[in-house]
């Protein structure tokens, strides 16, 4: 009795025509080679299972969509898909680094939450209130320029147009406003930081 082993090309053709058993034979024939290739790159059984599964999902979809050209290179084609998925896996890993909190060192001690807690928010509000009071103590021309620049986000061109002075004059007033603010803060030992 002769044993006939169908080639990959024949199995692929049969599968495309609707023979689901052909796929089973193909997978059984090549699973070890493909899986061990994937594992040799990622060294993780679970990830290897995922990539193996994704590889064959692509194979199945390509075959069923009639997009596969049979050139007697079924295995190299599947290995290429697996290879590309391994690369995708590593690329994704680089985009989203994973941190394992094992108790010895927590990454969250380095990464801080940008949102202010209640205490810090209170302090921030107080600092801003103090600063507004200090600004009120400035001479009117300097106060006007500073408010337009810092609170209304106006350019010096716009400030110059609004106040009727040259840009250089506006710049000068802004400079003196900041110098005077610093002098007052230093003189009175005011703390304006957290």
């Amino acid at each position: 009795m002769k044993n006939y082993t169908l080639s990959d090309a024949v199995l692929v053709n049969n599968y495309i025509k609707g023979d689901e058993c052909a796929l089973s034979v193909l997978i059984e024939r090549h699973k070890q080679r493909i899986y061990s290739f994937i594992y040799s790159k990622v060294f993780d059984r679970d990830i290897s299972e995922d990539i193996f599964q994704d590889t064959f999902i692509k194979v199945i979809r390509t075959l069923k969509n009639g997009k596969y050209n049979e050139e007697g290179k079924f295995l190299p084609w599947v290995m290429r898909i697996a290879h590309n998925l391994v690369i995708d896996h590593f690329r994704k890993g680089n985009r989203m680094p994973k941190f394992e909190d094992n108790g010895e060192f927590s990454i969250f001690s380095v990464i801080s939450d940008g949102n202010l807690n209640a205490e810090k928010r209170l302090i921030k509000d107080q600092v801003e209130e103090d600063l507004r009071n200090l600004i009120q103590e400035l001479p009117d021309d300097q106060k006007e320029v500073l408010i337009m620049r810092m609170y209304r986000d106006m350019s010096f061109k716009e400030i110059s147009d609004k106040t009727g002075v040259s840009i250089n004059t506006a710049l000068g007033r802004m400079r003196y406003a900041l110098i005077n603010l610093r002098k007052v803060i230093e003189k009175n030992n005011i703390v304006l930081t957290n």
Partner: protein, 48 residues
């Protein structure tokens, strides 16, 4: 002497195969996947 310290990793790789469940999933997926062509557009459907 070197043979004690240098193990071939190929032996371990020979026994590496995917889980039976993965393969069953793939076979079931293949059975349920249907591609329908309508007006030159292909639609993939998963039959329950």
């Amino acid at each position: 002497m070197a043979k004690f310290y240098f193990k071939s990793s190929r032996k371990e790789e020979k026994h590496l195969v995917p889980n039976r469940r993965t393969i069953d999933f793939l076979l079931n997926y293949s059975k349920s996947l249907q591609v329908v062509e309508y007006q030159k557009i292909k639609f993939e459907t998963i039959l329950n």
